[in-house]
Amino acid sequence: MTAGHTFEPKILGFLCNWCCYAGADLAGVSRFQYPPNIRVIRVMCSGRVDPAHIFRAFATGQDAVFIGGCHLNDCHYVTHGNYDALGMVYVCKKLLEHIGLNPERLRLEWVSAGEGIRFSNIMNEIGPKMEKLGPLGKGEGLDEQELKAKLEAVTKLIPYIKLVLSERLRVPVRKEEAYTEFFTGEEFNRLFDELIADKLAKYPHVSARTQDVKKETVDNAKIDRIINKHKGEARSLIQVLLEIQKENHWIPVEVLEKVSKKLDVPLSRIKHIVTFHKTFSLNPKGSDE
């Protein structure tokens, strides 16, 4: 960074197709000005946004994540996805706080299609705020390696966190008060500490260790042997996958990519097959099934 050059925060926005994206569009058409820090990804519903998306954004250099959806009870889908986004964001904010990042970096707002002004106002507020917070990690005093390790640890735990969200952190009533009451209450804090923080503590914040975990789950020689046994033919795809699943008890994504390359089969087809039935598992499983 050259002297005098101010920090330009990078903000990634997930805007829901029906309300917030339209609102942002309206802001643009009406020429309401706001700083150009935000890059927008249009999703069909704010409920689509996954913790994996948020943490991937942070891991790839974004300084803030903005999620925009329809006002509560106005979700265009019968399933009220925006409530799912609400719950998810509460948990992710707590996670950010837990690993030492400022939870204000994750922002959830409800903007309707006609509220162009509101959208630009929000952006005008967020921009300077994020500037003040500084770059991700550095602003909180974490060094690069440490930040990377912590984000990796959370990312690995995300499938489990989603499970906890849907099973133990579920709010039975789709009402804002119910959500606010639950997520600002003692029980949420307790459950978070018991179920999530506890597990996270088992990942020591040193990069080298997370690499170790990776190595023991992928025995490349075994995988190569299985592929070569079937003469690396595309038609033996299912047999190869079955054998890998049997030997390894799960199939890591890197192995899928390897199989795709060696058998010359599109990765999308492999993923189609592997996600089609419970026979295959993309997550580590115990050896006793």
Binding site: I238, L242, R269, H272, I273, K278, T279
Partner: protein, 557 residues
């Protein structure tokens, strides 16, 4: 083991095997079928080994873990040859007594033989036991004499003589003619004449053709393919090679479940041994006919037993069916003509070639020739795998072989074909077992699974169970099946919970019309069959559930 390069060498080897076996030496056949496996027959086998070792009988006695004997209800089963003493419900504790009394001595242990439930009369030999004596065990009869890991056992009962006859003495067209004359119909559920299918494949353009064994057996309640294939894999292999010769195919596929490890093990051994003996591979028995085999596993779903889905799966794609505007026998795997048949169908082929079509057609009815394996389950005294000639009435099967209904209950219906079949009510059980007769009554024979239901069975609940199964197994490709089954299931769940509404039955009938007409494959097309069949014969049960929530069964109490 040098390869057998001619029919003469095969016969010489067979004679050698037979000469090395003493027919008077006692032989112990322990059933290692799936049912008995669940009863820990491994421990019984170990107990026999120990006892034989202890009494130093290793060279004086043959000990075999054979394929399924069929009488699953009475497992674990042990048969002592040459006297054919059938012991049932054997435990490891009984083993020393069996060895000392029946193997070394000539005595029969009374408490271990079959006893009639009502009269208490004992029966020792299969020719006396009602379950066995009312069957015609052409296919499964040899299971008790064969260790599936040994090819010599199969040769000893005359195996592969049909192959040698076909390859040496008959032309491919003659083999095809013989199968056509025998009127062999597919045993997997379609009942399509195998001869016609083979002819289509043979006449289709192109030099590369494939033959496939469908060993998937996904149908609920069907376990006879497993019994034959695990117990006697060679008879299916032999049928496949003969079929390939008739069609002109040089590559065969066996498609089986990934979770049946013993069956897979036996198949792999059988293929390896056949190759070793020169009965598979290049220049089989010196006839210039080449044939290779590949074993493929499924990924664990019901729909991959459907022929076009199966072929997609062999290609390495996801098993989804396709509409069959063009038959798979013309365009199958990789677009090449592929003749797919069920395990039992292939198992019939060596019999037909060996004994001739005339002998074969003497058994059975006008439209259905030969025998059929049926798997009996449900509310019936004798569960297991039975083999009967076509034409046997259902009454004879349920009472004569099945032993009737336990606990003094009355028979209500027999359900054929699992989730894609229908039921025959008690009033119609004098119908003979026949493809066309049963189809006329709305209960196609399917693969041969017979689910026996007694008077306490709730037919609406049974239908709901089948639809629940199918809704999980639907591949989801076409709307009528994916959505139709789901909606029908919802209505049935409401009916079962007593929340039935007016017009529910009419709605069900309407939806089933659509799924039947518009689905892409047999799963969707026949999904509504159990529903339509139970509506046909047990409509009052459905009507009772509408608004009132009380079924006739409950009313009776």
């Amino acid at each position: 083991m040098p390869k057998l390069n001619s029919a003469a060498e095969l016969e010489k080897w067979r004679k050698g095997v037979l000469s090395r076996r003493d027919p008077d030496k006692p032989s112990i056949a322990i059933c290692a079928g799936m049912g008995c496996f669940g009863h820990d027959n491994g421990k019984i086998f170990a107990a026999f080994e120990k006892e034989i070792d202890k009494k130093d009988l290793k060279t004086k006695v043959y000990l075999r873990a054979t394929g399924c004997h069929g009488y699953c209800e009475k497992g674990p089963m042990v048969i002592i040859y040459p006297d054919e003493i059938c012991y049932m419900g054997v435990t490891p504790k009984d083993v020393p007594e069996i060895v000392s009394e029946s193997v070394l001595g000539n005595k029969v242990i009374d408490r271990l033989v079959y006893a009639d439930l009502d009269s208490g009369k004992k029966a020792v030999h299969p020719s006396e036991i009602p379950f066995y004596k009312n069957q015609m065990r052409h296919l499964i009869g040899s299971n008790t004499k064969i260790d599936p890991q040994s090819i010599d056992d199969y040769l000893a009962v005359g195996g592969y003589s049909a192959l040698s006859k076909a390859l040496m003495d008959m032309s491919p067209e003659e083999v095809l003619e013989e199968i056509k004359k025998a009127e062999l119909r597919g045993r997997g559920g379609g009942g399509f004449p195998a001869g016609w299918k083979w002819k289509t494949a043979r006449d289709a353009p192109g030099k590369e053709k494939y033959v496939i064994v469908n060993a998937h057996e996904g149908e609920l309640g069907a376990f006879m393919d497993r019994a034959i294939f695990t117990g006697n894999p060679h008879c299916v292999l032999e049928g496949l090679i003969i079929g390939a010769y008739a069609i002109g195919s040089h590559q065969g596929f066996i498609y089986t479940r990934h979770d049946a490890s013993r069956m897979k093990n036996n198949i792999d051994t059988a293929v390896a041994k056949a190759e070793e003996y020169g009965l598979l591979g290049e220049n089989i028995l010196g006839s210039n006919f080449d044939f290779h085999m590949e074993v493929h596993l499924d990924i664990g779903i019901f729909v991959s037993g459907e022929s076009s889905a199966l072929m997609r799966s062999i290609e390495g794609n996801i098993p989804e069916p396709r509409p069959k505007y063009i038959r798979t026998s013309v365009s199958g795997i990789w677009g090449k003509p592929s003749a797919l048949n069920n395990v039992e169908t292939w198992a019939n082929v060596p019999l037909i070639i060996d004994k001739g079509a005339e002998w074969y057609t003497a058994t059975g009815t006008e439209g259905s020739k030969g025998t059929k394996l049926v798997s009996l389950s449900g509310n019936i005294v004798n569960t297991g795998v039975a083999e009967v000639p076509f034409g046997t009435t259902i009454r004879e099967i349920v009472y004569g072989i099945g032993g009737g209904i336990p606990n003094g209950k009355k028979l209500k219906a027999v359900h054929f074909g699992g989730p894609m079949g229908g039921c025959i009510p008690e009033s119609l059980i004098d119908t003979p077992l026949d493809f066309d007769e049963l189809a006329k009554l709305g209960a196609p024979i399917g693969a041969g699974s017979m689910l026996v239901l007694d008077e306490d069975a709730d037919m609406v609940d049974v239908t709901r169970y089948f639809l629940g199964f199918l809704s999980n197994e639907s591949c989801g490709k076409c709307v009528p099946c994916r959505e139709g089954i789901r909606q029908m299931l919802k209505i049935l769940i409401n009916l079962c919970d007593g929340k039935g509404k007016e017009k529910d039955i009419e709605l069900l009938e309407e939806i089933s019309e659509v799924t039947g007409a518009a689905s892409l494959c047999a799963l969707g097309k026949t999904a509504a069959d159990p529903l339509l069949s139970t509506l046909r014969y047990f409509r009052d049960e459905y009507e009772a559930k509408i608004g009132k929530g009380e079924s006739p069964a409950e009313k009776r109490e």
